[in-house]
Amino acid sequence: MSGVASSVLGVRVIPWLAMMAPTAHAAASSGSAKRVIYLFMSGGMSHLDTFDPKPKKKDVMGPMEAIASNVDDVFVGQHLPETAKVMDKVCVINSMTSRQGAHEQGTYIMHTSYAMRGTIQHPSLGAWAMKMSGRINPEIPGYVAIDSSQEVTSGGFFGAKYAAAPIGSPEAGLKDVHRSGAVSEDAFERRLALADRLNEKFHGRFQNADVGAYQELYREATRLMKSEDLKAFNLAEEPESMRKLYGSGRFSQGCLLARRLVEHGVRFVEVQLGGWDTHFDNFAGVRGRCQEFDQAYAGLLRDLESRGLLQDTLVVVATEFGRTPEIKEEHQLGRDHHPSAFSCLLAGGGVKGGMRYGETDSKGAKVRSQPVEVQDFNATIAHALGIPHEQVVMSPSRRPFRIADQGQPVMEVFA
């Protein structure tokens, strides 16, 4: 692990490196975000039915209508009435483009900036943020994934220390963080000490990264158990008014929990909303997803703003690809995968609100101007966080990697 350790040291000289970097981009002032809430729309969110509607094209829109938002030229799908009222805080990127048209690969590259390989597991964005910027609150996990899949929220070659702490149910929070009432503190400590002895023996025999990771995780877990900030994970402490603001669905709870977590100093929170793979009966599917999303997202932005957190919290809405302008009659009005053009959102963290960046053609099939590759998008997130996107970190196999591969941040979105 010495390679990793030295690159940790390397991080300390970041400000200097960033200033010396040769490109104009890197010399510009970085974003003001300290934290990220990354909302991932899993399955491939239809850009046409959400944030890139084509109101004049009936054949593309099918039964979906577009509605006006509180920003003049920004329209959204009809099932996003609450979101429409907060678009002044949001930058819509309509020109996302990718070549990964399968879920696994698309999801992977969005999370890691790299294409999947059989030989290496790349760290996820959250792991990069932890690696490059460290924890804000050292007592609780710096990276938390709610309702997400562990494959794309892993620490990759950075190791388990950088992996997200998984939360399966926002209502239950981080499970099992309290010592059972049946175990005295003494007994608990003795158990740990004994287990540690056994593990040292085992670790001595097997110098294996994963075995080491578990040893480290025990230390982390016991630190966490003693933390005052565990309440960050407890939704029960939220007043009813907050529940009303965010709505009652599972994703709403996830967003509310995400806000609690960033408030308590978690660096990166991912919340997933699945079910966007609307090959079959797209319009019913999108309506259902939007009902989950709409109030939660709008509530989150409003809440962050009223707490003064929005300026240094970047809220990302991402997905692995869009969906086809063609509507498949034979699949009860379904839409298939469409990576060549899709939409993602940025809000807060120094990003300008009330703007659209990039444009697709009249059908929403191809990007017409200002294309944003997946890596550019991730470089933009990095920039918002003040992470130098050009900083190289070596993997344990001595290969060079960067948070956004060769991506360049989209500077126009920053205020």
Partner: protein, 608 residues
């Protein structure tokens, strides 16, 4: 065992030995009995041995006992459940998906039964790819493979080639593969074989359904009965045997075809099978199944052989398992070729094939400590140390809590017709029969008559004593679920709910092929310290790991038994002295603490 199997073991041993020699590698040591025992159990039946099982093996002085253990394990019921987990992960078998109100239960039960019956892999593959007919019947149930991916036939096909042939074609859905040889046209030509899957025509029912959907009729019994037919009869129908032709997509971008043009089926490699673009056939999937299993040269056999090698040896001979490599291009050309041949010689019998691998020297090698997650490629230097899969951890914890969890009935799909989850008509109606009858109804009038009769037949007993059922858990019915659902993973919902231990330890979400993860995270450690393990095991006085201590007074012997139960080995002298210290300090509480400590140990969560 037969001569082919015995010869198979010899051949593999010879190949491995000559590879080690040629590479000038030291021959790894042979694992001791305890490591062998635990490994054999986890690999073969997917759980740790009970204290009894461990002791019986370790105390046995028969020099042939390893071979005896393997033969016992591959024929034990646990083998089927372990293979069921494997198949669920591979095929993404799920209980529910958004927008689908039918039932995946018959399909799920069919997959499990195929594993229980050790269905030969080529036959299994054919039955899945060519599936047709009544989804509620034993023969038709594999249509669930297509039902699972309804509306996404191209993804389904990409998964089919990935799973059964180790060909990754998903990129070619949209463009020529820049790294490989597959062109977008190739993909569509293959898709032609499966094209045209659709639901049965709902028009006989639609007028009635539209009437019932009107507001206030939704609470009526008629509506509920209709709902069953709409969702679980029509909604589960998969019609169309494969047209053999397909239109190029509207955004087709290459010179060799025009958007919207009909193209006929053509297989991309192996012995070419073609179908005509001029006429609509109905046996494309049968032809595809035939091609996959019979006409792709060594590919079909090689991929499943490599998957089985990875399952038994902890890593594949070529990596990843779902990217087929010609034997010549691998690091072990002879071995890869031999394994393909063995697979064919054993008629794709995965049980016998695994028996062969389990009896090789390579399976006995001591774990290779050098190889971690960032391994330096494939070698034959011993099994990499790896964390147990989520299902192995769960099934092992269940074993500690309940003892041998495998004495259960073979699951069957309960296909009795229900309305709103209630048995009706005295439980004599089956979905299978209703499906067959409804599919015969050719007109609206015929449907209305049938429906009226069905409503009458179900209403008469509608409220009386019907048994509630979730229709979700396949598992052994009749209350053997036991404390907190302490049954093997393959009997729990698939995937398990997100607050379950299986999720925390990375069980596949069934969205992607082999989606399970062994990545460590802090939640796992918390579960082991404070969660499930504490509540269902350490504090559960009825847990097998405690009941096996009954009547044993001697403290050392008690420690020994706990060690056997949790780690499958006796304690070392040093460990024994540590544990005896704990006994002196904590008295009767010590046993709980020792169990907790051993389950928290890395040795428990890793397979050597």
């Amino acid at each position: 065992m037969d001569a082919v199997m015995v010869e198979g073991v010899r051949t593999i041993d010879r190949r491995v030995a000559s590879w080690l020699k040629a590479e000038k590698k030291k021959v790894p040591e042979i694992s001791d009995d305890a490591v062998f025992l635990r490994r054999a159990f986890l690999v073969t039946v997917g759980r740790i041995p009970t204290a009894e099982e461990a002791r019986a093996f370790l105390d046995d002085t028969d020099p042939e006992k390893r071979r005896g253990l393997i033969s016992h394990l591959v024929h034990a019921p646990g083998y089927s459940w372990s293979m069921t987990n494997w198949a669920f992960d591979l095929l993404r078998v799920t209980d529910r998906k958004p927008g689908f109100n039918g039932s995946f239960e018959p399909y799920r039960a069919w997959v499990a039964r195929a594993m229980v019956e050790n269905r030969p892999w080529d036959q299994f593959t054919r039955e899945v790819i060519a599936a047709k007919g009544n989804p509620w019947s034993l023969e038709g149930a594999p249509v669930g493979y297509y039902l699972r991916d309804r509306g996404m036939p191209l993804d389904n096909l990409a998964n089919t080639t990935r799973i059964f042939l180790g060909s990754r074609m998903e990129c070619a859905q949209c463009h020529d593969d820049p790294f490989g040889t597959t062109e977008r046209r190739d993909f569509y030509e293959l898709a032609a074989f499966t094209h045209g899957l659709h639901e049965a025509d709902r028009s006989p029912m639609r007028p009635l359904w539209d009437e019932l959907e009107e507001g206030d009729r939704r609470d009526s019994w008629e509506y509920r009965v209709a709902r069953e037919l709409w969702d679980r009869i029509y909604g589960m129908s998969v019609v169309g045997g494969g047209e053999g032709r397909i239109r190029l997509p509207e955004d087709y971008q290459y010179r060799d075809g025009d958007p919207g043009e009909w193209i006929g089926g053509r297989t991309p490699f192996g012995k070419t099978v073609r179908m005509s673009e001029r006429s609509q056939a109905n046996d494309g999937r049968a032809q595809l199944a035939e091609w996959v299993t019979e006409r792709t040269g060594e590919q079909f056999a090689s991929v499943i052989a490599n998957r089985m090698w990875a399952r038994v040896m902890g890593r594949p001979l070529y990596d990843p398992v779902d990217e087929y490599q010609d034997a010549e291009d691998t690091r072990f050309p002879e071995l890869v070729r031999d394994l393909s041949r063995l697979m064919v010689a054993l008629d794709y019998d995965l049980q016998r094939f695994q028996w062969v691998l389990l009896n090789t020297r390579a399976f006995e090698f001591a774990p290779n400590p050098e190889v971690g997650r960032f391994g330096n490629g494939e070698d034959l230097m011993g099994r990499p140390l790896a964390r147990l899969a989520a299902e192995q951890i769960w099934d092992s914890l269940v074993t500690l809590a309940k003892g041998d969890p495998d004495q259960v009935e073979v699951p069957t799909s309960d296909g009795r017709f229900r309305v709103n989850g209630r048995l009706v008509g005295g439980g004599t109606l089956s979905y299978e029969n209703v499906y067959a009858e409804v599919m015969e109804l050719g007109s609206e009038a015929a449907f209305r008559k049938y429906f009226a009769d069905l409503v009458k037949a179900t209403q008469s007993e509608g409220s009386g004593g019907g048994e509630e059922s979730s229709m979700v858990a396949m598992g052994p019915r009749g209350g053997s679920g036991g404390r907190g659902g302490l049954v093997r993973a393959c009997f729990l919902p698939s995937p398990a709910p997100r607050d379950h231990l299986l999720y925390v330890f990375g069980q596949s979400d069934r969205e992607i092929v082999e989606g399970g993860s062994r990545e460590p995270n802090v939640g796992q450690v918390l579960t082991l310290m404070n969660g499930f393990v504490q509540k269902q095991l350490v504090e559960n006085g009825d847990a097998q790991v405690f009941t096996c201590l009954e009547g044993v007074e001697d403290a050392r012997e008690r420690v020994r038994r706990i060690y056997l139960a949790v780690l499958g080995r006796p304690p070392t002298d040093e460990e024994l002295s540590w544990m005896m210290d704990e006994v002196r300090i904590s008295g009767s509480e010590a046993w709980r603490n020792i169990v907790a400590v051993l389950v928290m140990s890395s040795e428990f969560v890793f397979i050597q």
